[in-house]
Structure formats: structure tokens, C-alpha cells
């Protein structure tokens, strides 16, 4: 059954008055019924569901803390709404502070340190490993990799240069990549 806001106000007000007198059942019922209202107030200010829920919990704690300041002769919604609004604004501020202090992770953060020169050592070591692995390939495969991957020639250009068919180049490249992968990954596992 849908109740009008005024009836609901009176109902919540009576529950809060009973809760102030120590009626735990009334308090529990009130809290369960007001959570959606508090959530709606918080959602007007906050986007993330986790932040909304934090603001709702902060509002609940404040309500608990100052429940003696509610006067049952007055409507309860402005009282609840003001508390929910304050806690939502606090959360907005803390979200803003967090945003100022933190940044989303990018590819750069996967490096040991930011900036190319600091990571040069690592990339040089990796390049040396790759070069050594390429040097260890059979001549046909090595040539295919050098022309197609390192010099970035097209299959047609490489075919013209070496006199091999496109299919033969493809097969050689495929085998070379498999061999390199085995070599490099195997090297890392050691």
C-alpha cells in the first residue's frame, strides 16, 4: 500500500519518538524504512554506488549519534534530509580529495620507474636476448624474421628480395616466431 509523504512522515516521526524512549523494534523499523530515502538523497550528490553507500552509513551513524536532537512535534523528513545531505557533501569532498591525490594506472606505471631513460637498461637486456635468439635461428627463418619483422618489409618485397615464395616466407616466419617464443619464455622460466 502506498502511503502519502505526510502519512509516512507522521509514521516515521512516531517510530523515532518511540526509539528515543528506547524501543528497539521501532528503531529497527524506522532505520530500515529510511535507508532508501537516505540513499536517494546521497544519489543526488554522488555517482559511485560504493560512495553512496558510504554516505548512507555515515548519515545513519550521525542519526544515531544525535537522535536526541529530533523534536517529535516537528516533521522528521527535513531533519533526516539535512543529515543525509551533510554526509553526502562530506563524501563529495573526500572523493574530490582522493581524486586529487590518486591517478588511474596507465601503461607507464608498469615500468620500473617513469621515464624512458630509467627503463633503458631493462629494454636493452630484452633486446639483447631477442637478438641472440634471432641469431640462433636456422638461416631461412632468420632471414624471414629480419626482413619481415625487423625491417618491416611487406611479404611481396621480401619475396622479391630473397627469391622465395610468399608461402615459404610465411611458413618460415611462423616457425621462427614459435622458436623465439620458446626460447624467450623458456629463458624467463629458468
Amino acid at each position: 500500500m502506498a502511503t502519502s509523504p505526510i502519512r509516512r512522515d507522521d509514521h516515521w516521526s512516531a517510530l523515532m519518538a518511540a526509539a528515543q524512549d528506547g524501543d528497539r523494534h521501532a528503531y529497527e523499523r524506522l532505520l530500515r524504512e529510511i535507508v532508501p530515502f537516505l540513499r536517494a538523497v546521497a544519489r543526488r550528490r554522488l555517482r559511485g554506488e560504493a560512495d553512496v553507500e558510504d554516505a548512507v552509513q555515515d548519515a545513519l551513524l550521525t542519526i544515531h549519534q544525535i537522535r536526541h536532537s529530533y523534536d517529535p512535534a516537528r516533521p522528521i523528513r527535513p531533519w533526516l534530509g539535512a543529515i543525509a545531505e551533510r554526509r553526502a557533501l562530506d563524501r563529495v569532498r573526500s572523493v574530490a580529495r582522493r581524486a586529487g591525490r590518486e591517478a588511474a594506472l596507465t601503461d607507464l606505471h608498469h615500468e620500473t620507474l617513469q621515464g624512458a631513460p630509467t627503463n633503458e637498461g631493462e629494454s636493452r637486456l630484452q633486446a639483447r636476448d631477442v637478438r641472440a635468439a634471432v641469431a640462433g635461428l636456422p638461416p631461412g627463418q632468420r632471414q624471414a624474421i629480419e626482413l619481415l619483422k625487423l625491417r618491416e618489409m611487406s611479404l611481396a618485397e621480401a619475396s622479391a628480395r630473397t627469391g622465395q615464395s610468399v608461402t615459404a616466407l610465411k611458413v618460415a616466419t611462423h616457425r621462427a616466431i614459435l622458436a623465439l617464443r620458446r626460447h624467450v619464455i623458456g629463458g624467463e622460466r629458468d
Partner: protein, 221 residues
């Protein structure tokens, strides 16, 4: 923590609480106590020798009345601002009285200048005034913040500022009955200065002070 668990913890902790009395009644009680405390200090310090002559001047009586009214209205404002469902506009209540008081002191400076020439605006030091007002504002203001501690999660800064404005204005009225300050410029600088320092301190320190007040009252509860 899940909201569900929080609700359960709150319900388990739901002991009966004593409802606050209406804010006007609390303000009246507070004013009564403050006036008694200030009257006691004034009684110990003794009235200024020229008090009767001063109170014959309607201008000075009006000035004192403006200061006293500002103090009373600031207390009413503070007790309202401490409640979540009252308007922020209560903070404006003491401002007209305060403006009137400062303006009357400013006008007094002009009158002194006309009467005495530049000497009328000679500014001396009166650390005593500052000490009197701050000396009364700190304990009375501290007690008021304990009475208003439920404002801490709602409007700590305006509540503390109006509360301490009330105390400082009443202290200034008390000081006017005790201390011999002739020149309006001296009153303007030392009384208004002390009131503004007290209000600025209370506004700036409102959050930690409220926290301390809550801990203090919890320790005695």
C-alpha cells in the same frame, strides 16, 4: 562494513535518550547562567567610578543595549543552528545588532574627534580589555560548546561562531560596566577586536573543540 550490519549494531546500542528542550528555552537558560557568571565577575571587579554619569547618556545606554541584544540574539541563533532541521539563515540574526553596535562606536569616534580634535583618536593599548573579554569567552564559550556539541556533525563553524559571539558580546557589556575607557576609538579597537578574535578562534577551532567537548561529556556521562 555492510549497511545491514551497521543497522544491527545501531539497534543493539539503542538506549533511551533524553530529548533536547526547545532551542529558545535552552538559549534563555544559557543567557541566564551567563549573565549570572558575568555579574559575579563584575561584582568582584567593582563598577567603574563614573558609571552613573555614563548611564545618564542615552547614547551610551543605547550602545550597551545593542551589545546586549547582539549577545542574546547570537545565543538564540546558536541554539537553532545546532539543530539539523533549522535554517542556515539563523546565523544572520545577531548581525544587525552587531552592525549597530560597531556603527555606534564608529560614530562615537567621530564625536570624540569633533570634541577633542586629533587627540580624541589617540590610540592607547588596553590589553586588560582583551584579557577580560577573552578570559570570560574561553570558559563560557567552552561551556556553551559542550551544550551545543550535537551541532558538531551538522554546522560546527556557524554554531561555534554565533555561540562565542554571544559570550563575547555579553562579556563586552560586563567590561563596559567595569573598565574605564573614555575614547570610543579605544572601545572600538579593543572591544570589537577582542570579540572578533574570539569569534575567529572559535570558528577556526570549532571542529577540534567540539570533538574535545564530546569526549569530555562522554567521560562524565
Amino acid at each position: 562494513m555492510r549497511t545491514e550490519d551497521l543497522l544491527a549494531a545501531m539497534v543493539a546500542d539503542a538506549t533511551p535518550v533524553k530529548r533536547l528542550r526547545p532551542p529558545l528555552m535552552r538559549a534563555a537558560l544559557w543567557l541566564g547562567l551567563s549573565v549570572l557568571a558575568i555579574a559575579a565577575v563584575v561584582g568582584v571587579a567593582g563598577f567603574r567610578p563614573d558609571l552613573a554619569e555614563r548611564l545618564d547618556r542615552s547614547w551610551e545606554v543605547a550602545q550597551l543595549a545593542a551589545a546586549g541584544a547582539t549577545g542574546a540574539l547570537a545565543a538564540v541563533a546558536a541554539f537553532h543552528l545546532a539543530l539539523p532541521d533549522r535554517s542556515d539563515a539563523w546565523a544572520l540574526l545577531p548581525l544587525p545588532g552587531f552592525a549597530l553596535w560597531v556603527a555606534s562606536l564608529g560614530w562615537g569616534c567621530v564625536a570624540d574627534f569633533v570634541r577633542l580634535g586629533p587627540e580624541g583618536l589617540a590610540l592607547g593599548t588596553s590589553w586588560g580589555c582583551l584579557g577580560f573579554i577573552l578570559g570570560l569567552s574561553v570558559p563560557l564559550g567552552g561551556a556553551m560548546l559542550v551544550a551545543l556539541r550535537h551541532a558538531a556533525p551538522i554546522r560546527p563553524v556557524p554554531t561555534a561562531a554565533t555561540g562565542v559571539l554571544s559570550v563575547a558580546m555579553l562579556a563586552s557589556v560586563g567590561l563596559s560596566l567595569v573598565h574605564h575607557l573614555d575614547a570610543a576609538v579605544m572601545v572600538l579597537v579593543w572591544h570589537v577586536g577582542a570579540v572578533l578574535v574570539a569569534v575567529a578562534l572559535s570558528a577556526g577551532l570549532s571542529r577540534p573543540t567540539f570533538r574535545a567537548a564530546r569526549r569530555l561529556s562522554a567521560a562524565f556521562a
